[in-house]
């Protein structure tokens, strides 16, 4: 039997804290195993609390699939830095990476569950964002 090529949307978790990012990623893995490309990053370039655009770009690269990538973030700087990172991607990828307005842990787990079923990027994002009051 030939293995189906990986076409599921990838998930990137961006927290101010590497422990939060790693813990959220553990919860995603428990739910979907290896079915979804997953990467996480937390902390600034000095290893303190914060976020790092270069590390976010690297995480997008690790979770990249042609189906695209959703990014789950915690607080303001994580969102702003993630949006900045998306703009710095080459044009081919930029339109396929989306920052979700959703709580980081719940959003990551729901997005990954949706992605594991093969849903397209827009649907994965929408499911995660349904967690946020509009």
């Amino acid at each position: 039997m030939t293995r189906k090529p990986q076409v599921n949307v990838g998930v990137v978790i961006v927290s101010h804290s590497s422990k939060v990012a790693e813990g959220a990623a553990d919860m995603v893995r428990q739910m979907v195993g290896e079915a979804v490309p997953l990467a996480f990053t937390g902390g600034n370039a000095d290893g303190g609390l914060g976020t790092d655009v270069a590390a976010i770009l690297a995480a997008i690269d690790r979770a990249w699939t042609p189906a695209g990538v959703v990014i789950l973030v915690d607080l303001g700087g994580a969102e702003t830095n993630s949006e900045m990172a998306v703009e710095m991607l080459d044009e081919a990828r930029r339109g396929r990476v989306s920052v979700c307005n959703a709580p980081i842990v719940e959003g990551a787990v729901i997005a990954a569950t949706e992605a594991s079923g093969g849903s397209p990027l827009e649907m994965v994002k929408r499911m995660a964002e349904e967690l946020s009051p509009q």
Partner: protein
């Protein structure tokens, strides 16, 4: 604009941010996560390291280089916000700006910050300094330097009675009232440093 002036401008901003890092961190401790000074210091130390190469380029490229360094090194929301400001400024400004072309480029950069931060004036952010300074620049006229300087400092002070609507400070609601906004303060410091550096 010659290389020595570019170097002086960028260095003046970096030195003032680094010199005021503790003050900025203390302001951020009051209403935020207490890292603004540290983050800005990290970013501007990287700016100083890159300064010889940055200042060697024409003004638009030098400003884009400055913006990119801040985006990559600051590590908080202020990185992409200030980074976006300088990237947008570099995109619009000519190598030898006049008061008019500076005002236009500054206004474009302020619009880019609004878009990046999904914010506007009145929400207790750096925009509460940048927007009124852009207005002074656009109005032009005599004694522009002293008026820009005075506006920047007064506008930062004017954030004290404001209630934060964006960023970590907004979680405090009414309790954010009574403290100056750290980003407004760092913006004012940099604007004053630039005025000093060009003797305006």
């Amino acid at each position: 604009m010659d290389e020595a002036v570019r170097k002086r401008l960028i260095e003046a901003m970096a030195r003032t941010v680094i010199a005021h890092a503790d003050e900025l961190t203390e302001l951020d401790r009051q209403i935020g996560d207490g890292d603004h000074g540290l983050n800005m210091k990290r970013g501007f130390e990287a700016v100083l390291e890159a300064l010889p190469a940055t200042a060697a380029k024409p003004l638009p490229e030098a400003l884009k280089g400055l913006g990119t360094t801040l985006v990559m090194k600051v590590g908080g929301a202020s990185g992409p916000l200030y980074g976006t400001f300088f990237l947008a400024l570099g995109k619009t400004i000519p190598d030898a700006p006049t008061a008019t072309t500076l005002a236009g480029a500054f206004a474009a950069a302020v619009e880019a910050v609004k878009a990046r931060g999904k914010s506007q004036a009145g929400q207790k952010t750096m925009l509460d300094v940048l927007v009124p300074v852009a207005a002074v620049l656009s109005a032009g006229g005599a004694d522009l330097g002293p008026r820009v300087r005075a506006e920047a400092l007064a506008a930062a002070e004017a954030t004290i009675p404001m209630k934060a609507m964006r960023g970590r400070a907004s979680f405090l609601g009414e309790r954010s009232i009574g403290h100056p906004d750290p980003g407004a303060r760092s913006s004012a410091l940099m604007i004053v440093a630039v005025c000093d550096a060009i003797g305006a």
